[in-house]
Structures are given as C-alpha cells and as structure tokens.
C-alpha cells in the first residue's frame, strides 16, 4: 500500500533511519558488570513497611484533633454530672447563684453573654464592613499592605492587654466622659439609668467590639476579594457609581459569606474571657441599664473556678463551661460552612 501524498504535504521522512530489523534484540556490545549504583539500588527494599507505618503515624496525629474535641466533650460532661442531675434544663432558666446554699442558675450569665456579644456585634459589624469596603475597593494600592498589616496587629494583641488598657483607660473614659454624655443625650431610653462606675455591660461590649473587629473585617475582606472582577465590571458597565458597584456587584454576591464572618465574630465574642472579666463588674444581675455590672458565662468561670469549694459548685461551673463549649462549636460550625460555601473551600486564614 503506497501513500497517496497530498499535494503540498511535507514528506514524512527527511532523514534516513537505520534499517536494522526492528524486532530483534541487539546483543549487548560488551558484557558489562552491573554498576555499583544499580547493585545498591536493587538491594534497597520496597519501602512498603516504612510507607505504611509513616501513613499510619500521620493518620494518628491527624486524628488527635478529633480526639481533642471528643475528650473535652466527655470530660466536661463527666464532671458536670452532679449539676446536670440536680438542676436539669432549669439550670439555664433560673436566676439564682448562691454558692453558700448550693443554689445555682445560669440565667444572669446567659443574659450578660448575649447582651455584651450582641451589643459588640452591633458596634463592630458596621465598622468592620466599612474597613473591608475601604481596603478592598477604595484604598489606594500602596496603602493597602500597611493598613491590613495594622489590622493583623490588632488581631494579635492578647486579651489581657486589651483588658489592662480597658481597666485603666476605657473605664475612666466611660465613667467621666462618655457616660454622662450618653445620659444627657439618650437618657430617655432607659438604658442608661443607675450609677455609672465605668465598669459594666457597655464598657465590656465596647472592648469586645474592638476585639472582634479584626476577625470580621479580615474574613469579609477575603470574601469580597473572592468575588470575581467580572462581576464588578458588569455592574460598572451599566453606569453604576462606585458604591452601587460595591453594593450590587460585590456585597450581594458575598452576603452568605459575610453572614458567616459575622457569626465567627459572634463565636469569638461569646467565649471571650479576660478582657470582659476585667471590666464587666462581675455581678450576677439582670438589669436593663447598660451601666449596670453584669456577668458572662466565661467570666464567672474565670473568677470563681479556683475558689469553687464543694462538688456541686465545681460541677455547676463545669456545666457552664460545657454550655459555652457546645454553643461556640455550633456557632463556629455554621459560620465556617457559610464562609466555605462562598470561598469554595479555600482555607480561611486562621486568625
């Protein structure tokens, strides 16, 4: 069968190829000794045992993460057994907290935790969104890195340092300046009644807001950056102003992710201990006034755990810890799922 060469097709062969019969083996030119290298390599084992043991070891280490969570859960349940049995679900609806008589109820702490966290969110979320919008859409390029670095530094400040600053700077500020101002302007709402010593729900909410800002803002930034530029361009091409482009092209697409970021901030606020303990007043009261001292779930543990005499007292505090553990796990799980849904599993920066 000969080839009908197409007109103009290049000849397939340009150089002569050795015509030696293709299927025969060429006898070795010289019988060479097997080189030292080949001998060495052939003597090495298959590595199967090492591979399996290594993989097993890595797996065990990876599973410690599961183990840690399970272990915390188990030990908290085990040690709160007394309190669980004594009070049941009513533990979270009763207002008592009397170590002397052995009467425990966690409602004041739940109130304090929720109030401070929600207030902190109310203050932090608009600010965090503003910073995120500024950094991703409005900020001139050379300023972007320094400012985001600064907000990273904010996230790195330990809780106790925030608390220290709050005790000596924020509290006097609230007591002497901000407090009276609020009474004058918003006193009619009834949220600012009673004596103002600078410590209380409002101060705690403020320091909490400062602390959760970086995490909400940096996650929101990640989410906004994940929105493809084509979305922005599409909206701009329709004649939108810059804010409209942000609102329609970016924010609308990242709604779910931003809610996730906010929830992560909430999770952080719920569990924040040191700074809050230092400025909340540590009094298990439920009061409408934001100047009143309060108590959070985390603070009561921090303050009273080492002095907890008696098994029931200890057990009640552990039960509060258990509640905190479960709530933050649920909030964080939902939040992570939302953030993941938007950034498609690109791991969120751990802050």
């Amino acid at each position: 069968m000969s080839i009908e060469r197409e007109h103009g097709a290049p000849s397939p062969i340009r150089t002569a190829v050795p015509v030696a019969p293709a299927m025969e083996e060429k006898p070795p030119l010289v019988s060479q000794p097997v080189s030292a290298i080949r001998e060495f390599l052939n003597s090495r084992g298959s590595g199967r045992l090492a591979d399996s043991s290594f993989a097993a070891l890595m797996l065990v280490c990876a599973c410690t993460i599961f183990l840690i969570v399970l272990f915390i859960f188990w030990i908290l349940i085990k040690n709160s057994h007394l309190s669980l049995v004594a009070f049941g679900w009513k533990f979270f609806t009763r207002e008592a907290w009397d170590p002397v008589s052995g009467d425990f109820g966690a409602l004041p702490f739940i109130y304090g935790t929720l109030m401070t966290s929600l207030l902190a969110l109310a203050m932090a979320v608009p600010l965090a969104l503003g910073v995120a919008i500024f950094l991703t859409e409005l900020c001139p390029r050379p300023l972007r890195a320094p400012i985001s670095f600064l907000s990273e530094l904010l996230a790195a400040i330990p809780s106790v340092v925030y608390g220290l600053w709050a005790v000596f700077v924020l509290v006097p500020l609230m007591r002497d300046t901000v407090g009276p101002f609020l009474v004058k302007t918003l006193g009619w709402t009834g949220f600012f009644e009673g004596p103002n010593f600078g410590v209380g729900l409002l101060t705690a909410s403020m320091i909490l807001a400062i602390m959760i800002l970086p995490i909400i803002s940096s996650l929101t930034r990640d989410i906004m950056t994940a929105v493809p530029n084509s979305q922005r361009e599409a909206v701009l091409a329709l004649g939108a102003t810059r804010w409209e482009m942000i609102r329609i092209g970016v924010l609308r697409n990242s709604r779910i992710g931003i809610v996730g970021a906010v929830m992560l901030g909430l999770g952080r606020a719920l569990g924040e201990t040191m700074a809050v303990t230092m400025v909340i007043g540590n009094h298990p009261d439920i009061s409408k006034s934001l100047f009143a001292p309060g108590y959070t779930l985390a603070s009561v543990i921090a303050n009273e755990f080492s002095e907890a005499t008696g098994d029931l007292y200890y057990s009640a505090l552990i039960e509060i810890g258990l509640a905190l553990f479960l709530v933050t796990i649920v909030v964080n799980a939902i939040a992570r799922l939302m953030v993941w849904a938007v950034t498609r599993g690109a791991p969120a920066r751990v802050s």
Partner: protein, 301 residues
C-alpha cells in the same frame, strides 16, 4: 399601521437619568466612601491608643530589675517579672514540643494522604471549629484531666492546655503550605523511586518549610498571650520555679493578677509586662509577614 400621533414621553426619556437622580447617587457614593474611611480611622485608633499607653505607662518601668527580679512583697517598691517571663518560656517550650510535631504530622496527613477524602475533610473542618472554642474551656478541661487527679497545679498542665490550642493552627497552616508545593516536584521524586514517606519528608516538607515555620511562629505568638487556659493549670507563682510539676508564673497571668489588684506598684509592673508581651508578639507577627512573602516565592512554582 397606526395613525395615532406619537405621544411625547411625558416623564422624559428613561434612558437619561434625571439630574436629581444622578446627584443623589453620587452623593450617596461620596457619603459611603467617607464613612468607610471614617470606619478605618475609628478601627485603627484603639490600636494607636493601646500602643501609646503601653509605651507611656510601661516603658519607664523597664529596667534591668524588671528582667531579673521576682515580684517584691506587697507594698514594697521595685521587683520585676523575671520569673513570669521565664515561666512563660517554659510553658511555651513545653507546648511547642508537644503541639508542633503533632500539628505538622496532622498537616502532612491532610496534604499528602488525605486529599479529597472524607476523613481529611472532616479533620480539616474539625480543626477550624476547634480554633473557635474559648480558651477557658480548654483550661477547665485540662484542669479536670490533669490538675484535679494530681491535686496540684503544674507547668506541665499549662503546657498541655496551650499545646492543644496550637495543634489546629499548626495543622491548617502546614496543610496550606504543603499545598503550594507543585505536584510535578512530588512526581519527580516518586519517579526516581523515592518511597512516598521520604518524598513527603525530604521533598514536600523541605520545599514548604519556610511557610511551615511561619505557621508555627503564628501559633506560638497566638498562645503566648493566652491567659485563660493558664488560670487553672499553671496557676501562677510569685517565685522562681524550675519544677514542671509545680505551679509556675506566666507573663499574661501575672499581668492579669496585677492589673486587678489594688496596688499601684503592681499596676506599674502590669503595664511594663504588657509592653514586653506586646513587643514579643508584634516582632513575631512582623517576622511572619516577612517570611511569608519569602516563603511563597521560594516554595511556589
């Protein structure tokens, strides 16, 4: 076919926005820009304020005595936080020894063996969730596990509490960094007959090592400032302690105790201690930033 006269558009051509509408939209745009800038300033202001106060109140107390003496008895002037700095070093050393190897190994598993598998995804998710658990919960859990049965606080317990906080962070950053190693490089090693475990250790880990070290430093900086988990494990100590099995002082713990105390002298020490702590942490964060950039360039394709 229509013989009706064409009605003049009564409200103006809808394609041309009215002047009022344009003005409103541009005003809104400017207001929002202004608010965003304002928000940024408000957010950065506390950072400036905190740093300012730390330096203002703490710098003057930073003398040699601060770094070499233990706290003076109540009411007496002078003294320092040397034992707290040392104690923090011990606890952090213990935590790193326990937490970093496990974290890196878990990260190696997730990256080299667990890609796309259900177990891998579950572990990844759990690590992220564990990061959000309040540190005080870790503290009371370790208390119940170690301190209560032993009937005494210990540096060792503090180390464990901080170690379990380090593990999820180290795991995730190790995994992220290993993912930046191009698959072609692994294939080159496998093609040479290098066993999978050796490829993971000598090739993948080595290539990603700048980033992994960065991740460990991040985790270290994060737990260095933690107080809550140490409240009921390491507990604190007014004196030098070299025994892992006894309570030991720690810098953040000492700052907390001093800050809420009624003594001015101790307040002064608290500010100084906070300044030292902040400087150490900020140096770590800055180093991390520098290394992260270099690591990316070196470890990437």
């Amino acid at each position: 076919m229509s013989t009706q006269p064409i009605q003049a558009q009564p409200l103006g051509d809808p394609r041309k926005p009215s002047r009022g509408n344009v003005l409103r939209r541009y005003t809104a745009d400017h207001i929002v820009s202004g608010l965003a800038i304002l928000a940024t300033i408000i957010v950065l202001a506390p950072l400036a304020a905190i740093l300012f106060y730390l330096i203002y109140k703490g710098a003057s107390s930073l003398n040699l005595a601060f770094f070499t003496h233990v706290p003076a008895p109540v009411g007496e002037a002078g003294g320092g936080m040397a034992n707290a700095i040392f104690g923090s070093g011990i606890i952090l050393g213990l935590a790193s020894l326990m937490g970093i190897p496990i974290g890196i190994a878990a990260g190696v598993y997730l990256s080299e063996f667990g890609r796309g598998r259900l177990l891998g995804n579950a572990i990844r998710f759990t690590a992220d969730v564990l990061n959000g658990v309040p540190s005080i919960v870790m503290g009371i859990a370790i208390y119940s596990l170690v301190v209560k049965p032993q009937h005494h606080y210990s540096a060792f317990a503090g180390g464990i509490a901080l170690a379990i906080m380090m593990i999820p962070t180290v795991t995730r950053t190790t995994e992220e960094m290993l993912a930046t190693v191009p698959h072609a490089v692994r294939e080159a090693a496998l093609g040479l007959g290098v066993p999978k475990w050796r490829t993971a250790v000598s090739i993948s880990l080595r290539t990603a090592s700048p980033g992994i070290i960065t991740g460990c430093m991040l985790a270290f900086a994060r737990v260095a400032g933690e107080t809550a988990p140490l409240l009921f494990t390491a507990f604190g100590n007014q004196f030098w302690s070299f025994n892992m099995n006894q309570p030991i002082a720690a810098l953040p713990l000492q700052i907390f105790v001093y800050a809420i105390s009624p003594y001015d002298e101790w307040h002064r020490l608290a500010w100084a201690g906070a300044l030292v702590l902040i400087v150490l942490i900020m140096v770590s964060v800055t180093l991390v930033r520098i290394f992260a950039n270099r690591g990316m360039l070196k470890g990437g394709s």
